[in-house]
Amino acid sequence: MTEPGGGGDVAGSIGRRRFLGYVLAAPTLVTAAELGVASAAGAQPAAAPRVADLLDLTDLMTVATLPTAGLIAVEVHADGTASFALPRAEVGQGITTSTAMLIAEELSLPLDRIRVTLADARPELVFNQLTGGSNTTHATYRPIRVAAAIARQRLLAAASAELGSPAGELTLSAGVVTDRAGRGVELGVLAVRAASDRSEPVTVELAARESFTVIGRPHNRVDALDAVTGRKKFAMDLAVPNALPTMVCRPPTINGTVNSVANLAEVAAMPGVTDVVVIGTGVAVRARTFGQCVDGVRALRVSWKAGTAAGKSDETVLRELAAAELPLGLLPPLTPTVEGRFTFHFRGNSALEPNCAIADVRADRAEIWSALKSPIVARQSIAARIGLPLNRVTVHVTEGGGSFGRKLFFDAALEAAEVSKKIGKPVKLMWHRADDTRQGRTHPMATSRVRMSYLGDAVLGYQQRHTSVSTDLGHGLGEIITAFAAQLPVGDIGFAETFFLLSQEQSYRFGVSSQLLSETDKGFNTGSTRNVYSPDVTTARELIVDQLAARMGSDPHDFRRRFLRADRAKAVLAKVAEVGQWGRAMPAGTAQGIAFHAEYKSVSAALVEIDCRPETVNRPIRDGVGGPRVTKVVFAVDVGLAVNPRGLEAQMMGGVMDGIALALTSSLHLRDGYFLEASWDNYFYTRQWNTPLDLRIIIMPDTSEDPGGAGELSVAASMAAVACAYGRATGTMPTTFPINHGTLSFEPKPTVPPVPASPTDGRDHAS
């Protein structure tokens, strides 16, 4: 078992151990491995006070894959290329690139001859086709390499027979096998000869880490050329015959439903409109163009039933949260304490690509296209909704335009299937931005209370009570946790509480420590937003750590360094302090902040500089929020083993931008049962004018044989460091996030009609 917060080598030494895989019967060479090859075998849970220190979410998701025995296969084709259908969703995190790199490493094939596609929903994979919890690389790192290594082994054996040279005297490079005499055979030729007419298990050695030539070296994205030329296809770019644009007229309050429609026939006769139909979530309009859908949606006169948050506002939800808060301790503390209570408002989790899906539902079959992170659950839900047997429903996973947790939910795919069934035609259904913002998924509002007790320069205890609007985990992750919760040392608690315990580890030596979650109110459409609990939990903790350091007369960096347990944790902290020149003199109104976060078997630290001077805060920004400017971020990360440092750096960069937004500008305002925000000019995600001019990301040297998680990792430390810097620059610890939530910086758009009119003055704004 590794030291808490240390991550380390959970799987034990791989070195030159042999791994089991398969050769499959096929016309060309197809090799395979089981997903979830025992990479968490050493992580048997035992009774212990801190669950995440023993078995974190990463382990749980990996352990959960063990019994499912779904094979993932590398195919080598007669044209000398290799292909692999990844049972995960690529939504920008770069996993098609890192996966191609793993295959390239073991198969000695250039990356441009490897095609990684996204697998359709494969029910036999059960828990193993869910993209979440920053788990993809951790769970697939070894199985993909095993399959590719077996392919290499078979190709060399075939070449040996072909050339009459022992396999040990052959080299495979750039897609050609060469013997010592210089004779070569193309991979494509060997792909046919190495094919097997029956499936059988084989064992193989993986490439030794010292010999890596691809893994661990920076590589640009394999889909970059398609992205910059406009050729990359997202769901709404697909040409499915007769799948016409479709939008839904939605209720003025969260999850309202249709009472009656006054002018359905009138709207059905509008230009371009082909169909208008009432569905569970509103009134769908199908038309020749999306612009005509917008017009149809705006023209509909609908009376609505109240939704699930009728009459609720920020203030009423805050009262619900206060009522649901657990006590910080049963007895009053006997020693001095530092305490804080922090409020985190609702935040939108829309990606830039709105919620969307194509559905073609016929009497006896259905086909769905959408960027889905939980396609197996989506397929089951869709089949049930449209009343077809599971095996008559095909679900294609398309490339996604961002996710951040959003695409764990498949609301648009369900709606598209429902509309297509009702009208008997294919539909290309897309949510308007206003729909995504007002009826979409949100990161739940929460409070977090922290109490630290101390005596002299010793920290005696750490208590944190996190109270949140319920997080909906009903997309498959909840099922994974529920199925395995009985095996965990957590007692009889629900999966949200289990998830919380799994995702929060105590990286500091803070004496007797406890962190508990309580949830309330299931009336909101919630989900993760690039991390579930960690950004809020970490921000609350790190702010109180700063307070205690000040109480003890200690420097924030020195204090953290003293109490962090693991060497790799201390190393990332020391690195940002060194590179960011921690403690350098800064003008009044500006300051540095520093914070630490560990999760997914990875450790991270952020050093932030912020400018809170009035001339900066009040700089004019048209239709946007300026506010305090983060001028510099130094971020250090140790993910154990970095498969693609360039992709990892990109993930850290994105998380930093999220952390800045969560601390300073991004939130939803709830009033009268709906969110006031309706577009990107209301919801203030980080923009260029909020971007730090100086960003340095440091990838630490590898400390493990296994890659940890990265997709969501950098949000928490970034948000916390921005909050700490803000507190130090202004002299007041912030307690409500984002800090500008109290100021409404826009004029709310109407809720009826639910979407704004399309502007007509585009030519006037040419620039």
Binding site: V228, P271, G401
Partner: protein, 158 residues
């Protein structure tokens, strides 16, 4: 139904559709040109940014009836051809800096960047931080720092 004739990526096109349908939907839903993306529909997110006679515009906010036969619309698909290359220098800079993550906003980002560099060049100066701060295109993946680096680099190559 009215006919509209204008130029897209170097070719003259004629579409038969109501005057008030916005250019974005004419491009995407009728002509099948899907590089410009929908992100808000109200000229805020700039994911659909394309060029109209060389200037950056949001096609989501231009009724097709406003276009004249001589108007030249350039989408990301036609950008490289404006310099008679396989890739525009800005696209090359984007590749070198590995800017894209999910890629959804990137066609709009690149079109906005090219228009910015053209404007700044016409003003006889080079790109400043204030110019880059003024770019309104949203990237929800948070690629902003790499966008800034790529624009400076691409500007030097244009």
């Amino acid at each position: 139904m009215p006919e509209h004739t204008f130029r897209v990526n170097g070719e003259q096109v004629t579409v038969t559709v109501e005057d008030d349908v916005r250019l974005l939907w004419v491009l995407r839903d009728i002509l099948g040109i899907t590089g410009p993306k929908y992100g808000c529909g109200i000229n805020v997110c700039r994911a659909c940014t394309s060029h109209l006679n060389g200037r950056a515009v949001s096609p989501c906010s231009i009724p097709v009836g406003d276009l004249e036969p001589t108007d030249e619309v350039t989408t990301i698909e036609g950008l490289a051809a404006t310099v008679d290359e396989d890739l525009h220098p800005m696209q090359r800079a984007w590749l070198d800096h590995d800017v894209a993550q999910c890629g959804y906003c990137q066609p709009g980002q690149i079109m906005a960047a090219v228009a910015l560099v053209r404007r700044v060049t016409e003003e006889g100066r080079s790109i400043t931080d204030a110019d880059l701060d003024g770019l309104r295109n949203i990237c929800r993946c948070g690629t902003y720092p790499r966008i800034r680096d790529a624009i400076r680099d691409g500007a030097a190559r244009m």
